[in-house]
């Protein structure tokens, strides 16, 4: 780290991964405000571990794992807090505001409606199923990347993905308007 400040070293290590980390944060939390908070907390923690970070050959997966663990820790705390409150929907559908259509308004509307139904169906999945299906089928993570991120065997990732898709199919089929 000689020759440059800690801040500059830190930025050089983490900035190339910002987009991917923010996307992960959004897929984990489902809300922009919470994604930004999670991203922020990750950077704070990572800066505190700069000595460790500089010795890691691939900071991206390391940062992703720290973020995932922060999210899980927070979920546990949040679950304890929630013992006092009513259940609520988790995803806000906020991402749908960023839906970019093409030039056919009718087709766009139809597509948006389907995405809204998908959004509602995703809310009904368990966290572990929702996260795996979003990381794999939306973000394009490989099974091995999810295994490293969540620290579960590849076989478990596969079976959870299979069950998550099946549940999603079931929910969307139950909703008579979809198919």
């Amino acid at each position: 780290m000689s020759g440059e400040t800690h801040e500059a070293t830190f930025e050089k290590l983490v900035r190339p991964h910002f987009d991917r980390l923010y996307r992960l944060a959004f897929r984990l939390t489902g809300r922009k405000a919470e994604a930004e908070d999670l991203f922020q907390e990750l950077l704070i923690r990572a800066f505190g571990k700069l000595d460790e970070l500089v010795s890691i050959s691939e900071p991206g997966p390391w940062l992703s794992r720290v973020m995932y663990n922060l999210f899980i820790d927070e979920q546990r705390r949040f679950a304890r807090r929630r013992m006092h409150v009513v259940d609520e929907g988790f995803l806000s559908g906020e991402g749908l505001a960023g839906f970019a259509g093409d030039e056919d308004p009718e087709r766009d509307q139809h597509r948006l409606e389907k995405l809204q139904q998908l959004d509602a169906a995703l809310r009904q999945l368990s966290d572990e199923h929702r996260i795996i299906v979003l990381l794999h089928d939306t973000e394009g993570y490989k099974l091995s990347e999810i295994h490293e991120l969540m620290n579960i065997p590849v076989g478990t990732v596969k079976s959870r993905l299979h069950r998550a898709r099946a549940r999603l199919r079931e929910i969307l089929s139950e909703n008579g308007t979809f198919f």
């Binding site: 922009k32 922020q40 505190g48 009513v86 389907k114 939306t138 199919r169 969307l172 089929s173």
Partner: protein
């Protein structure tokens, strides 16, 4: 034939779900967020190394208003008397617009297993807790400053007082925050 039709329909449905998942959109980060987050991380990370806090999760943005309450040794000995009106800090909110207020508890001692209860006036809600007037959770405070970001939403123009009650070892203290809605 029937089975083939069913299989074909099922395949097509699966393909459609996968195509939708691929297009499932997300909200972009706020403009300038990455730079701000980086600046906060280096500043906050340094501070936390001296004074680690574990009160709440994600840390949250500190850009919004901050209300500082001093616990000091006072927390453990003072009678739980309401503060005179002039000493109550206040925030101004716009109707139906989320407003983050960062409550800062400066504690002279580390406190494990404290209970924090936030009580909201009618017409003010805590984001994520719709319809709840009182929200409690177990927490720990470290010596020094502990942040609690609360995202409040005023649903009526009434306003009122938010009460944050901190209890530890059968002792407690209530802090008051006046909310004015315009």
């Amino acid at each position: 034939m029937h089975t083939q039709d069913t299989d074909a329909r099922s395949d097509s449905r699966d393909q459609e779900i996968l195509a939708l998942l691929k297009d499932y959109p997300m909200a972009d980060a706020s403009t300038g967020f990455y730079d701000q987050a980086l600046a906060r991380a280096t500043h906050e990370g340094t501070r936390r190394q001296r004074n680690r806090w574990i009160m709440t999760g994600f840390g949250s943005a500190l850009a919004a208003g901050v209300v500082l309450w001093l616990l000091g040794g006072f927390f453990l000995t003072a009678p739980d008397l309401p503060a005179p009106d002039k000493s109550i800090p206040g925030i101004a909110m716009t109707l139906e617009e989320p407003h983050t207020v960062n409550l800062v508890f400066a504690s002279a001692n580390a406190l494990d297993d404290a209970t924090l209860t936030v009580t909201l006036p009618d017409g003010v809600e805590l984001a994520g807790f719709p319809g709840q007037r009182e929200i409690s959770w177990q927490t720990s405070l470290v010596e020094g400053r502990n942040y609690l970001p609360l995202e409040l939403i005023a649903l009526t123009p009434t306003g009122g007082e938010v009460l944050a009650r901190l209890e530890h070892d059968n002792r407690g203290r209530t802090f008051r925050l006046r909310v004015i809605v315009s």
